[in-house]
């Protein structure tokens, strides 16, 4: 059952279904909104109605003559959308459209536009305010407040400026204002929507009854249409939520990017073993780049390279959310050009930087260590500087587990130390210290290697190896590294304190124990390599040969 109404269009009587009537009513109101009295609105409307009556008559020659929604849609298609044929009205120049004239009666879908008539900067705030029907002052104040946070609000404002088209034509201005959104209206809209769906469901149900038996194909189609309708509604909802999410993520990342490049806040990159890797990009760049120009260039390049895609992401999200169809080609091309500029800048900086690393030089010295006993105790010290007042100025940068950089003004401290143990050719302990550095040429690399400052101390049987070395007066990172190699005579032992762990670099041993498990144990040099003395019994997989070798070493151990 469906209610039909009896209506009079241009003197013709039609029976029309309720949903069809509502569609037709809305369509006519839409058209009305596009013309003014001076255009001869009454007459145009009368003519259009007459034509609609004619078209409906042509479609309905059978006796019951009930106009359905599909008829109305066909008529609308033939007549066209109002914005398609209102162009003449603009051209005639007689249009003196005041927004108040129709603002209240216009019932078209409200859309976001920038308000060029009421603007301080770009009309963004007043346009959005018109959309939500609030006082623009509050929006302006909140935007002004966000300008203070690294200018993120400014960026967002500019983005909105680009995304939201300005209301230029009278109809756009109307759409911008739209119907006032108040409780009444929302109620009305919800009701209308509800009625529409109810009618549709009713009609589907009726069609269902009617078409059950003879036209199964049609019935399937109906169900498909019905489901499509519901799904498209859900999809729209999903699309909007997704857009909001994308905008949120984009803005967050943009803010993080801006503050890490231009500010001092740390960026947490990721988490390994509960140790989060975090550093400020700005500090990192200060350690790497030679001068402020390079630093600035890189900051700009990084911003363009990462920021532009983020901005595009936010832009797309906004377009979807605000349902904006206008294409802004200038924005896309400018964004592409800026992105490419960013790419060029970063490549340029990378090439320059690579040159700085072209040559590597190594300075090696080998010292024999005089020990009173047969066991050498190894320990690492993390004290970074002798004068503790400076410590406050230091910033720590963690790149990975093995590298640690601390900066003060004069020099940087690096933890890039590789320690390993081999068999001594004779019967004395020896330590080989290699200092490495990179440079544009061999001379420069050599000079930098020479500047590296690393002091170990040997007291009695304890060798203390500092955890960090200073880069010397040259305070940039150029691949400086210390390689330590300890030569242990056969039959003598070393004890690795736990503090040695970050220094160990693939130390070979007979039980193939990984570096991080080697500390806190006593090791004896055998003919076949380092042997664990006080290890717990080997696990199941270990061969019995190794187990017996370990027992042998027990006897030779001295405490």
């Amino acid at each position: 059952m469906n209610k039909t109404l009896s209506i009079n269009i241009s003197g013709c009587i039609f029976n029309i279904e309720e949903d069809a009537y509502q569609e037709l009513y809305r369509y006519l109101e839409d058209i009305k909104g596009y013309f003014t009295d001076s255009d001869g609105r009454e007459e145009i409307m009368a003519d259009i109605e007459a034509r609609i009556a004619e078209l409906l008559t042509e479609r309905n020659t059978k006796p019951p003559r009930v106009v359905m929604l599909s008829d109305i849609h066909a008529v609308m298609q033939a007549m066209g959308r109002p914005e398609e044929f209102s162009g003449n009205e603009q051209k005639s120049g007689t249009s003196t459209f005041t927004t108040d004239e129709n603002g209240n009666t216009y019932s078209g879908r409200k859309r976001v536009f920038r308000d060029g008539d009421d603007k301080l900067i770009g009309g963004v705030c007043s346009g959005i305010s018109a959309y939500f029907d609030i006082d623009p002052l509050w929006l302006r104040l909140s935007f002004a407040a966000t300008f203070l946070f690294f200018g993120s609000g400014l960026l967002f404002y500019i983005l909105l400026w680009i995304v939201i088209p300005e209301a230029k034509t009278a109809s756009e201005k109307l759409q911008m204002k739209g119907e006032k959104v108040d409780i009444n209206n929302i109620g009305k809209q919800v009701n209308e929507e509800f009625e529409r769906i109810k009618n549709r469901v009713k009609r589907e149900a009726r069609e269902f009854d009617k078409t059950m038996k003879p036209r199964a194909k049609n019935f399937v189609q109906r169900v498909v249409y019905f489901l499509e309708d519901i799904f498209s509604g859900l999809l729209g909802l999903l699309k909007n939520s997704f857009a909001v999410l994308v905008i949120f993520i984009g803005l967050t990342m943009l803010l993080a990017l801006l503050s890490s490049i231009f500010g001092y806040s740390n960026v947490v990159l990721f988490n390994i073993d509960g140790q989060s890797l975090s550093y400020s990009i700005k500090d990192l760049m200060r350690v790497i780049f030679n001068n402020d120009q390079q630093l600035m260039l890189t900051a700009i390049g990084l911003f363009l390279l990462i920021g532009i895609p983020l901005l595009m992401l936010i832009y797309k999200g906004l377009r979807v959310m605000l349902n904006i169809k206008h294409k802004n080609r200038i924005f896309s091309s400018v964004a592409s050009v800026l992105f490419i500029i960013g790419l060029v800048i970063i490549s340029y900086v990378a090439v320059i930087l690579k040159k700085e690393f072209d040559y590597r030089e190594k300075i090696t010295e080998k010292i024999s260590l005089q020990l009173p006993g047969n066991t050498l105790y190894l320990r690492s010290e993390t004290k970074v500087s002798e004068n503790s007042e400076e410590e406050e100025e230091e910033t720590s940068l963690v790149f990975s587990k093995n590298t640690f950089v601390q900066i003060n003004d004069s020099s940087i401290l690096l933890g890039n130390i590789h320690f390993d143990v081999v068999k001594s050719p004779d019967d004395s302990f020896r330590l080989r210290v290699s200092r490495l550095a990179h440079g544009e040429n061999a001379k420069q690399a050599f000079a930098r290697a020479k500047q590296i400052d690393y002091h170990y101390t040997l007291t009695d049987t304890t060798l203390v190896l500092p955890r960090y070395f200073a880069s010397g007066s040259f305070n940039k990172y150029r691949g400086q590294q210390i390689n330590l190699r300890l030569y242990v005579p056969v039959g003598k032992s070393i004890y690795l304190n736990h503090s040695m762990e970050p220094l160990l670099y693939d130390v070979k041993n007979t039980s193939n124990m990984p570096d991080d498990e080697m500390t806190g144990r006593l090791w004896t040099m055998q003919v076949d390599g380092l042997n664990c003395v006080n290890c717990p019994p080997p696990k199941k997989e270990d061969s019995s040969a190794e187990a017996s070798a370990e027992e042998d070493s027990d006897t030779s151990a001295e405490y």
Partner: protein, 113 residues
């Protein structure tokens, strides 16, 4: 895509520009009511959507180029039959001259394509 839209828009503008001229031309053959005019213009694809015609007709009529009379129809609403006024004939002649001039100029500037 935006480019294609622009071209579509330009094409629509071109059609719109000559539409008034063509309506007058159709009516110069004798009186007609809107559906007749639509039929003829649709055939030659000068009109895509019918709604375009009505504001235009009203405007031309208000400028005094057209007059109309009502006629009852046996099926459907009464019809408005439009005819050219004397002023309309003059306007048509003027537009015709302007059009020929325009065609010549356009042909001249585009003949090398």
């Amino acid at each position: 895509m935006g480019n294609a839209n622009d071209i579509e828009n330009t094409k629509a503008q071109m059609r719109k520009g000559v539409l008034e001229f063509c309506i007058l031309a159709v009516l110069s053959k004798g009186e007609a009511y809107p559906s007749d005019i639509i039929e003829q213009l649709k055939e030659v694809k000068l009109i895509v959507v019918e709604g375009t015609l009505y504001p235009l007709l009203t405007r031309i009529k208000n400028e005094g180029l057209l007059s109309y009379r009502w006629e009852e129809s046996n099926a459907g609403p009464p019809r408005k039959y439009y005819t050219l006024t004397e002023k309309g004939r003059e306007a048509l002649a003027e537009l015709r001259a302007a059009w020929q001039e325009l065609v010549q100029s356009v042909n001249k500037t585009t003949q090398h394509i």
